[in-house]
Point group: C2
Chain length 237, copies 2
Amino acid sequence: MPRCTSRPTDESIHIMPIATQNLAKYIDHTALKADTTADQIDKLCEEAVQFGFAAVCLNPVWVRRAADRLRDTDIAIACVVGFPLGANVSRVKALEAEQALQDGAIEFDMVMNVGALKAGNHDVVRDDIAAVTEITREAGGLCKVIIEAALLTDEEKRIACRLAQEAGADFVKTSTGFGPGGATLHDVALMREVVGPDMGIKAAGGIKTAEQARQMIEAGATRIGASAGVQIVTESQ
Amino acid sequence: MPRCTSRPTDESIHIMPIATQNLAKYIDHTALKADTTADQIDKLCEEAVQFGFAAVCLNPVWVRRAADRLRDTDIAIACVVGFPLGANVSRVKALEAEQALQDGAIEFDMVMNVGALKAGNHDVVRDDIAAVTEITREAGGLCKVIIEAALLTDEEKRIACRLAQEAGADFVKTSTGFGPGGATLHDVALMREVVGPDMGIKAAGGIKTAEQARQMIEAGATRIGASAGVQIVTESQ
């Protein structure tokens, strides 16, 4: 079984990190394309061990395979939930998280109900997140709530972050990587301002270089989602 | 409750239709963006009634609302399943279909497991589709299998169509609209050649004009998925 949490052991990483030399510990090594194959998942897992990434971030069909490959390592398995549109009913998101937990995931990158947020149905958004955080908390896992910032106004981003916090999420995350835009420094700084120092922030979508990753961390990110993790870490050495 | 099937009443529509004057009966009026709002869903339903579309095609969170709006009409509710990546485990796809059925859907546009097809795991692909067709058949509904053709070689498209047919699906569908490409005449013709005259083919992704819709139908499509349904029908009148 993977360890119960993949929070970086240096607790300060959740606040505003200063030392960003070891970028690997910030990175969720990610493969989320529809046509990802087993060979690519195996390579992703091997690279995660080799470079010491925080987690691998995968679609549900790959969790069991990754859990087999990463047994007895400290690499967490992060599974996406309601991904990438977030427009699944809460009961299905909860079952998806439960199934992924059984399969070996311990982190859950869920997409919030964007339409409900847009319509001002805050209770619906909060309850939808809580349906997943109930499962992850009980298991000692982490729930990251993807707000898909590129679809939101700044005020909607603030509301989304507050609702995620109220629902007991561990992280807010900028983007799916499948929306109209990826992580921006503006959004990360705004999210940090709203959630305060104790909540995780994952910047994801379009981060391809060590310089970009460092800037995101300086703006307040405590985790970086990227398919270019190897390049980022290699550049930073 | 919506009617049990939305197959066009003219059975010849499933073969190679000649009369394409009434394009509306071919169209699944579609709203699948993450930030779709309740107002947009209401408008979609009103337009479906006004123009006489075959179905509305929606994300799971909107099925119940659409079912309320379309009660006592002959517009079918089509819900996407495992959308748009298809990389959810079969048990979750099945639950998503069951839930959507309870909420009022009778057609199910599911995305196949693309990675498994790419890896040659045909049993996995077939069983995954069958997990949904078992539910839809029992309910008298329709299962459309999205093969996401833009990610596949021609040979993979042929295999995908055969597996969908073997698993008891009612339709094969070209694209999610979220992948790297939409419907092409080449793909529709290829799919028609593989599945024979009795299976439905839904062309979706990038169809915006009556001329495009007519060409797709001439190539073998029996259903058109489009968010531009109103424009298509208005143009054709």
